[in-house]
Amino acid sequence: MRRLYWTLAALLSHWRRHPLQLFSVLAGLWLATSLWAGVQALNSQARDSYARASQLLGGAERYSLVARDGGWFAQQHFIELRRAGWPVSPLLQGRLRLHGQGEQRLQLIGIEPLTLPAGGALAGQPFERLELTAFLGRPGRSWIAAETLAELGLQAGAQPLSASGQRLPPLTVWPQLAPGVLLVDIGVAQRLLDAPGQVSRLLLPAAFARAAPPLPAALAAQLVLQRGDEGADLAQLTDSFHLNLSALGLLAFVVGLFIVHAAIGLALEQRRVLLRNLRTCGVSLRGLLVALVMELGALALLAGVAGLLSGYAVAAWLLPDVAASLRSLYGAEVAGRLSLAPHWWLGGLLVCLLGALLAGAGSLLRAARLPLLALAQPEAWQQAQARWLRRQGWLAALLGGVALFALLFGDSLALGFVLLAALLLGAALALPVGLNLLLEAWLPHCRTPLAQWFVADSRQQLPGLALALMALLLALAANIGVGSMTAGFRQTFSGWLDQRLAAELYLMPVDASQAAAIEAWLAGQPQVRALLPSWRVELQLQGWPAQLTGIRAQAHYREHWPLLSASAQAWQRLQRQQGLMLSEQLARRLDLQLGERLRLPTPSGAWELEVLGIYADYGNPRGHLLVEAAGLQRHWPGLAPRSFSLRLPAAEVPALIQALQEEFALDDSRVIDQAALKAWSGRVFERTFAATAALNSLTLGVAALALLISLLTLGQTRLSQLAPLWALGVGRTRLAWLSLGQTLLLAVLTLLLALPLGLLLAWCLVAVINVQAFGWRLPLQVFPGQLLQLFGLALLATLLAAAWPLWQLGRSTPAALLRSFADER
């Protein structure tokens, strides 16, 4: 024990003399843990929210009856079914805006607690516990999650007004409720949503639904049994989103570990003599290793705690953006306030410890193999380096093979990420090999001895700087890749949106009777040049939710509905009901090509249609199909239009909106003009990539830090290598400039190599990852301005990182340079 103590004390004394190395190890671990834990916090927060949404109405297996067109339907159907012995319970769901709360919408869920399926619990709490009388009585209750209440800045018991001026029942905290949800009695929900006598679904007990009794004939044409719950659907739909976040987090983690690996490796090199002395003093190999592991563990623990704390901060900072993108992309509500389970903290620490062990494994192995009596061989570096480079080269080649394999045979998102990981890691490992080859090729062309020294010495610096340069390469490539993809997506998306959103005004009627009334009223408005109704049916195609839309007026769509690929005379044939068109992502999911046939389930049996065209439907996680309205109505009789697109002069739009809102009870979620819709879509887009962009910049920051730390640690050993040159007559200032030149040379070479790698990465993202994750493929676009900007930034980071050690070198006194001769071991 005592021996262990003294061994540890001797080992730790190293850090006291080299605080910079200590800082590197800690900073690397801290950064790695921080970003990784931050991303994990975001993901677990979101998953927790989905789980709560899923548990709201009693667990995973949920059955309900919904309208075939996905809209609200008459409460009378609920009564008819109850009186036919069906144990259904009505539910009304909608979005509610509160007065004075801006654009934020809450998910309003109206339930009927007396008939909720037996055994069902509300938000995981047994039903009996609820204060039912208060809920059912007057003024009733609005149940809300504590964090949502706090986000709204309201107190329990408050009775805010809805945007349309209706007073809510007193807000009451229900702890396990999903975030962003307002749970009220169905009668209250009908009043708040202005939907008297309307429901959105009828819940069924699983045992009853599994027996699949036939619906009464009168209702079979209108209602359909649906299985599944929103929470599970959300988890499925948002999977890709979270996987992308995880991948970025993992990238940051790897970059951080590079730093740790470099710093620990350097520390071991510098402690070789110490280790040998300890061994010769009688410390057993096991004792030494135990001490080294303990040292590493202690460092990891320290950095891990700091990393978790800052990871929490990072997550809290990114959460609003992530929550906003999830809400607007998937309609998923994620609590805007972080609340993390203990396992997150423990898991984070464990990952940090494992990471530290992984990063230090090489060094520990070398320590274990340390020849007890061999002398230091500082001049043997060249041999060692050659071996090291060969090994790296082979590894890189192997990873390249893996990447190629994943590219050729990959058909899943996971393999897509394997491709990315192999590509990046392989390129990183190949970097020092490549740089070495470049420098080696350059050496014979150097005339002056100083120039030869310049190149040869750069080569010698490679092992020390390699890891930092690799980190820089990774971060740069990731930035180029993600940046190109984002910018390309933005351009494609806005062009697509401009084309697609051609109508000036969009209307969504509340129900069938209002749809008829609106249609009749609009017919009398001379300024409306065209009125394009569309019908909608919700389908499940191979278990994937899809929306079937029926349209008329093909001429308009021909002009404004861009197709990615189409059969000859696609629109004319669609009009003749000879086929359908579908979104790119759905075509991929169902593995359908032009000319193939798809069977749609309808109340009157299967409806088989040929695929006539495929169109982009960016940002829609669900599938989408387009058919001629007449055919849709024939298979689903009695459907009312779900939305109207209106063509009219832009100047007339505000007046028409006002007239519509005066004439019909349409809130602003049901009347949207083109400009508002575009602005909204743009916001959704920006938010979606806000978190990605932020994480990306953080990764670049980590890489810059890695470079700085490597240069700093290297700077300390450089003195002894530069001293001979100084002794030969090269001035200190000149030496400093030469050193700067070396660093910049390596950095610029790395930047140049990062460019093709980044573009390759961008291609992988748009052509592989996006296709697998979201189902759409984007054209690869290169933005030179963006690349130049990034290069400038990277060079600046390199300069800054190099400045401090060089400034120190320039200022080092002749005495210090002389002393380095004496210190030479």
Partner: protein
């Protein structure tokens, strides 16, 4: 005497409303019933002297807090095996006078159905909100329903009770009965003003104990044609319960002589059980029985749902030379509803043999 039933109904609904009240061993004090509050609170009071009128009073009385339509039938199948059927619709108002025809309606409805046969006892319960059509009662022609359970008048004869159709179903059972009666309803207590307990609680109460019943039962997919007698109780009140009442034992008996008898005792904490009853002559005349007339003595106890219940009784009314011993058709006729109780068919022998129903709560 549905004074007891007043208790069961309130307690049942309280059980629905508040977990605390679910503890059957100790009925919560009346004041503790959430949402029910004190006696006054705007609900109409039960006063003597009100004349009951039919068919109007077959319907709901939303100015009063609690109300029920309670039907029990003692039946026999073709092989002579005995069966029992229970059908109950409870109404409980959170606020007085609520008549809205939408979700704002403050009446809550609860249905209980049970079928007791040679092989056991099956039961079901269901809940509904008032005002939307899932449950309700129309006086003329009488129709009381919740989900697909219903009690429906098929003829205006005999004040609307001349011919009724009854149906309900639960897991593994369903029944459909046709009920006919020729005698007018029996007004309990003083012309339908029925005094409860020693503390002066009261309700409006009338019965139709003279139904002839026939129909069919479906049990686990097997159909049984049945015939027998049925008894309808109608009662409404606003009064809360006395806090010291623990439960009650209630009998409705069809004597072979054609006479009917209703007896009950409310068990009070102080041991002074409050007993009352009505002797209904074969011609429909009702003769109230007082505490002193009635003797009720448990003779056998059984383990039911982890409780000790008196499932066999000796009943005596000295003035009528009445002395019988009762036996349950199924000892385990337990209603494991939100507020559980025992209710099932019985038969009896002695001075006046016959069949009937026994209800026991608060055990």
């Amino acid at each position: 005497m549905r004074g007891q039933h007043a208790r069961i109904s309130l307690a049942l609904l309280a059980g629905l409303l508040l977990l605390a009240a679910c503890d059957a061993e100790t009925p919560a004090p009346a004041a503790g019933f959430a949402g029910l509050g004190g006696a006054a609170q705007g609900f109409a009071r039960v006063e003597p002297g009100r004349l009951l009128g039919f068919p109007a009073d077959h319907g709901a009385h939303p100015d009063y807090r609690i109300e029920w339509w309670y039907l029990t039938a003692n039946l026999q199948d073709a092989q002579g095996r005995p069966w029992g059927v229970q059908w109950t619709l409870f109404r409980n108002a959170l606020q007085p006078g609520s008549r809205e025809a939408d979700w704002r309606n403050q009446n809550l409805w609860m249905g209980h159905a049970a079928l007791t046969g040679p092989d056991g006892h099956r039961h079901a319960e269901t809940f509904a909100r008032g005002g939307i059509g899932q449950a309700g009662v129309v006086a003329e022609p009488l129709q009381a329903w919740i989900d697909d359970w219903q009690l429906r008048s098929r003829s205006p004869a005999n004040g609307g009770l001349g011919e009724l159709e009854l149906q309900a179903r639960g897991e593994g059972f369903s029944y459909r009965l046709r009920l006919t009666s020729e005698r007018p309803p029996v007004l309990q207590g003083a012309q339908g003003f029925s005094q409860k307990s020693g503390q002066g609680q009261a309700s409006y109460y009338y019965s139709q104990p003279f139904f002839q019943a026939e129909g069919s039962l479906l049990v686990d997919g097997k159909r049984h044609a049945v015939k027998g007698q049925a008894w309808l109780d109608r009662e409404w009140s606003s009064q809360p319960l006395a806090p010291d009442q623990q439960g009650w034992d209630w009998f409705s008996l069809h004597l072979q002589s054609g006479e009917k008898l209703m007896l009950f005792q409310v068990r009070q904490a102080d041991g002074a059980h409050y007993r009352a009853g009505t002797w209904i002559h074969a011609d429909g005349r009702a003769e109230p029985l007082s505490q002193a007339d009635i003797q009720m003595q448990p003779v056998r106890f059984s383990r039911v749902a982890g409780r000790r219940l008196p499932t066999a009784w000796t009943l005596r009314i000295a003035a009528k030379d009445f002395a019988i011993d009762t036996t349950p058709l199924q000892e385990q006729a337990w209603m494991a509803t939100r507020f559980p109780y025992w209710e099932g068919p019985i038969r009896f022998s002695g001075s006046h043999p016959g069949v009937g129903y026994l209800e026991m709560t608060g055990y």
